[in-house]
């Protein structure tokens, strides 16, 4: 165990204080410089700098900044490379953890999810913050005291032997890789949106930014880049929300006042539910759904009838003396050729169309009333009671999975190896949480303010006077945003607009009528969030391979330089592999992220916690427990999640356990993991005294373990 103390301690403390003062100075200069940069761009925009220039400058400047930090922090030293020299002050480690933690999903996805699901989305807010209680109480101080480099390190030492380490490596790679693919997709989306390049090219541009940083400087570079990225992403998140808050309420602290906006939103929801025009739109969609249901009852006949009808229409238009203009004929031809080729395709298309029409025939465009907890009604009909129970159960299950997953994701736990002491490890969790809170306090406010903006300014606008952002976003991709005048009254109703949750945050500056520089800032913030998380994740995967697999298991005599070089090479390989997978656009990105949480929770949480708190836990038991937890989670996901079912060709009917959604599969994996470890430990031989000593060493901060 490396644990230098004694006469050197005073010197070290002194050097640490001086180091922190230096960092403070650089940090303050950086913040001032960044704010000046944003103001400068705002000024330039007022003077007529074109929009795409603003976007590109933001992109290049921030990427350049990360690359510079990467180059300045380049290192070959193992302690610097793997754990940033173990001298990152708690407050900066907190910021870095914040950036590491808040991914594209938090930055871009969360606001949109809250906008669409209202109270239901709060599961993410509670889950992603409450998990830090588990980190602080069960893991961070002990992992720091243990004082090695990675999570599989801990498993290998504590449980003795290579099996637990190997399982740990496998699980770490599985969850980090799933997660990193989602981040890189996010990077691709933002770069392509910001600069207009292709999605695939955007991915590789972003990749360059990630690599320069983690490749050269490892944890050291990643840590300091993440500090910079934290500042950028939090400024980018707060500025537009504060702007909206001032615009709507006159008070620049949205977190304090959006409760009153929520009341107004609830009142508006009541009006919209009763509004005659909204009802008319809903009736049209209900009609469409009924038609589709009829077609689906006998798809073959319905398809044949449609083809005949379309031909007839075309013939009539084409006929001499027909009333059809050239445009009408073209439209009719298009309609005919657009008909599905065979019955199977037709059925698929209609099933999807019916699901969409069903949602749109509901009040408020299928969104639950924003402030209402859970759907259904506990005192209503049997069906309403059922729906209430299921909604509540899934809400709690999701919180549980996200919390346990938070406390088990290796790239987060790794961060607690970088602080100077056990005491700093505990303090650093507080700092992480404070910095994370800033964003998580703001996200629900954002959702409410944007909803108020949409309800008051967009809904009820005549179609020829719609704001410019609606046309520009629906041009980017109609699946992100589309409007159609369904009831032909020339006025936009809420149910006539489909908006994807993914663009709510990115489009917010335009929705609120802010200058384009704010849009650029938000995109740069989203990029910072995605890049910072990707950095940490890539480093975790590369370290698991080079440090845990190669150094600890294959060649324990490898020199430090060789290990670091190998890690860098692996980083490159893993990054390219992840980019390749991301460029294939795996179907469901939000699912990938949540799967990573469930996997991490089921694999690591029981083994780590029992390893520290229960001396009796044995190596065989831990390995079996991790495998059992992972397999249970994977099994449930593969048999219930539509996308995975498709990949693995599962055709058996979906069998949900207690109606729990696949996103919360960890709910079953975690208890199974605990149970297996406990039961198997009790029937296997008590761990050796050496392990017992290790546990003692980990538990007591002052214990030198000799």
């Amino acid at each position: 165990m490396v644990d230098r103390a004694g006469p050197l301690a005073a010197d070290t403390a002194h050097a640490q204080a001086a180091f922190k003062r230096d960092v403070d100075r650089v940090f303050l200069r950086f913040v001032a410089g960044f704010l000046a940069f944003v103001l400068l761009l705002a000024g330039l925009e007022q003077m007529g700098l074109p929009r795409h220039w603003v976007g590109s400058i933001f992109l290049l400047a921030t990427m350049g900044l990360y690359a510079t930090i990467g180059i300045l922090s380049r290192t070959h030293d193992a302690v610097e490379y793997y754990v940033a020299g173990r001298r990152v002050p708690a407050i900066y480690n907190g910021m870095a953890t914040g950036a590491d933690w808040m991914s594209a999903a938090s930055f871009i996805g969360l606001g949109g999810t809250l906008y669409i699901t209202g109270y239901g989305g709060l599961a993410f807010i509670m889950g992603w913050t409450g998990g830090y209680c588990l980190v602080a109480l069960f893991l961070a101080p002990y992992l720091r005291k243990f004082g090695q480099f990675t999570v599989p390190d801990f498993l290998g030492e504590r449980y003795g032997g290579n099996l637990p380490r190997l399982v740990g490596i496998g699980a770490a790679i599985l969850c980090s890789f799933t997660y990193v693919v989602a981040q890189i997709s996010g990077v691709g989306l933002i770069t392509s949106h910001l600069t207009g390049v292709q999605f695939e090219l955007g991915i590789f541009l972003g990749l360059g930014g990630i690599l320069v940083c983690s490749f050269l400087g490892g944890m050291r570079a990643v840590t300091w880049t993440q500090v910079a990225q934290y500042v950028i992403l939090i400024v980018a998140y707060l500025v537009p929300v504060v702007w909206l808050s001032v615009k709507q309420t006159g008070i620049p602290v949205p977190q304090l006042v959006y409760g009153y906006q929520l009341q107004k939103v609830t009142a508006l929801e009541g009006q919209l539910q009763e509004d005659p025009a909204e009802r008319a739109v809903r009736a049209v969609f209900q009609q469409r759904s009924d038609d589709l249901a009829r077609k689906l009852a006998d798809p073959a006949t319905a398809l044949a009838a449609e083809r005949v009808a379309a031909k007839l229409r075309l013939d009539r238009l084409k006929a001499v003396g027909g009333s059809g203009s050239a445009a009408d004929v073209a439209a009719a031809e298009k309609a005919l050729s657009a008909l599905p080729a065979d019955v199977e395709t037709a059925r698929e298309i209609w099933v999807r169309a019916k699901a969409a029409a069903d949602t749109k025939s509901l009040a408020l465009n299928g969104m639950a009333p924003h402030a209402q907890a859970f759907s259904g009604d506990p005192s209503g009909s049997a069906a309403a009671q059922d729906s209430y129970d299921i909604a509540r159960r899934n809400f709690l299950a999701l919180i549980f999975c996200l919390m346990v997953g938070t406390a088990a994701l290796p790239h987060i736990l790794m961060r607690y190896y970088t602080v100077p002491s056990v005491r700093e490890a505990r303090a650093s969790v507080s700092w992480s949480l404070l910095f994370i809170f800033l964003l998580y306090f703001t996200a629900p406010a954002l959702a409410v303010l944007v909803k108020f903006e949409i309800f008051t300014l967009v809904v009820g606008t005549p179609f020829d006077q719609l704001p410019e952002w609606i046309t520009s976003w629906s041009k980017v991709d109609p699946s992100l945003l589309s409007v159609t005048d369904v009831n032909k009254d020339g006025i936009l109703q809420l149910n006539e607009m489909s908006i994807s949750g993914d663009i709510v945050v990115l489009a917010m500056p335009e929705i609120g009528g802010m200058p384009y520089v704010v849009s650029g800032l938000v995109a740069a913030g989203g990029l910072a969030a995605a890049l910072s998380t990707a950095d940490g994740l890539l480093l975790t995967v590369a370290n698991a391979l080079s440090h845990d697999l190669y150094y600890k298991m294959i060649d324990p005599n490898a020199s430090t330089a060789r290990r670091v070089a190998l890690s860098k090479m692996l980083l490159l390989v893993v990054a390219l592999a992840a980019s390749y997978v991301a460029s294939q656009r795996p179907a469901d990105i939000l699912f990938l992220v949540s799967a990573a949480f469930s996997f991490a929770g089921a694999a690591f949480f029981p083994a780590l916690v029992l390893g520290i708190f229960w001396r009796r836990a044995t190596g065989v038991a831990a390995s079996l427990g991790m495998v059992a937890g992972l397999c249970t989670t994977a099994f449930y996901m593969v048999t219930t999640q539509p996308w995975l079912r498709g990949i693995f060709g599962v055709t058996a009917p979906v069998q949900l356990w207690w109606d729990i959604q696949p996103i919360s599969a960890g709910l079953f994996g975690v208890p199974v993991g605990f149970a297996v470890i406990v039961l198997v430990s009790l029937v296997t031989r008590r761990p050796e005294p050496r392990i017992d000593q290790l546990v003692t060493f980990i538990r007591y901060p002052g214990d030198r373990g000799d």
Binding site: A5, Y119, K145, Q261, Y388, R392, L396, R699, Y700, D706
Partner: protein, 86 residues
Amino acid sequence: MGVTSRQRSYWRKNQRVIAGLLAIWFVITFVVSYFARELSFNFFGWPFSFWMGAQGALLVYGAIIWWYARYMDKLDAQYEMQVDDD
């Protein structure tokens, strides 16, 4: 090297605090959310359960972590566990 009685008492205190804080964490997270529909009285504009999910629970989490760090620092000092390890 065995565990001294001083260490044992330190660890017992640590475990007791962890159990207490975990109970608070559980109530704030799961019990309050379970009764979310019932707890929707007006709280500075928010329905109470909405505010708890969006801000209240987070504040409690922060308090739990901050208080635990402080308590353990004191406990370390009291049991002379604190070393500037690096």
